[in-house]
Assembly symmetry: C2
Amino acid sequence: MAVYAMTGGATGIGAAIKEQLRKGGHEVIVVDIKDADVIADLSNTEGRQKAIAGIRSACPAALDGFIACAGVATHVANKALIPAVNYFGTTELVDGLADLLASSKGAVLLVSSNSAPMSTDNDYVDLLLNNDEPAALSHVENIDGQAAYSGSKQAVARWMRRNVNRFAQQGVRINAIAPGYTQTPMTRAVEESEEYGQAIRDFMASIPVGRPGQPEDMANAAAYLLSDAASFVCGSVLFVDGGHDAMLRPDQF
Amino acid sequence: MAVYAMTGGATGIGAAIKEQLRKGGHEVIVVDIKDADVIADLSNTEGRQKAIAGIRSACPAALDGFIACAGVATHVANKALIPAVNYFGTTELVDGLADLLASSKGAVLLVSSNSAPMSTDNDYVDLLLNNDEPAALSHVENIDGQAAYSGSKQAVARWMRRNVNRFAQQGVRINAIAPGYTQTPMTRAVEESEEYGQAIRDFMASIPVGRPGQPEDMANAAAYLLSDAASFVCGSVLFVDGGHDAMLRPDQF
């Protein structure tokens, strides 16, 4: 039995990952804003440090894996939450747990997005990668939710890849999934929104495999990447998107 | 029990994939130049059509999956074999089996390489993607084996991604693994060669996870991507390389 910690395990992709790991006989400590083992708000550094402390207190000796699932979608009223939770709520937690993960040669799974390569706001992504939280949070006031979201997810993937060697030298493997459209409470809110609903439905109709993703698809990918079967997979971004990224960006990978 | 066909199942990565699928209770029809169910030379169209006919004759009704593993490494004396086997030995077979795969909603797995993004010979890759076999085979006479190899593997990944929608519309999922340095009979020959040996050993020492890949690592990735657990993974290139691609190309994915 392994001990995992994760953020955002209450609903959607996170809940499916949690259930699949628990079904596999593993212990999962869940951090979320409510309905969780550790209650913490990942939108600010106090909440993130509270999350780290809560995980450390639940498993002081070692941690076999960490999954950063907490995420805010494009439709949120306060757009600053998007980089605050999606990017800083990921990177600050992984850094804060690195020594604990190192002591069990653990595996980390991040959640990027198949929209990540579509971000063209390099200034925003650079602010994130430079760890300038105040500037990144004010930058998003002047861009739309989709740009704030895709940029946050591009930065997550690039942060992971830039740091892969640092973690690997401590024996910690780190990978990301890049989900495509997945039916969860988070995406249903967007699907029903006046602003993005039609665009999302058109997008969904264009998925090559002919169906939207389900949380279980993402949980299956997570389970593989976190397992010993994937012990040579490191720094990889696995697109789980029904063929959308390949269709939109055929000559890059 | 599913019925799979594969090329290059006699040694190395292919043999490990074959063994893992058979251990899972599946039937695997192997095409190779020797020691196989179907003996065929994939370096020319006659041999490829012989391979397709052999697979069709072994499983006339349907095919649950196809794995294109046959590959020629950088050190081969006749460099024309590199694009002939690695690229045309993949694409001609997938196209020739597409209807059979469609009738079982099958899955295809291709073998690219983590050297694929390093290819800078766009003329060569374009000749491959334009299906101009005579020109591609004469082009490699003037480039080195590494360039011939990485270009052939970049073309495999881009061909897959360009055709993902065509296959998906027939119900056929197609994905690729991009192995990093993997210890197989093919790579041992390169490792021992005077021309590339030292470079390969230096390269191996720089793998972030601290070990070279083993054929089983690739078989594990193949088993996941071919399984129903990956039914929403389509058009993806999964790097299985111990972190090398992330280290060398941190800002792209």
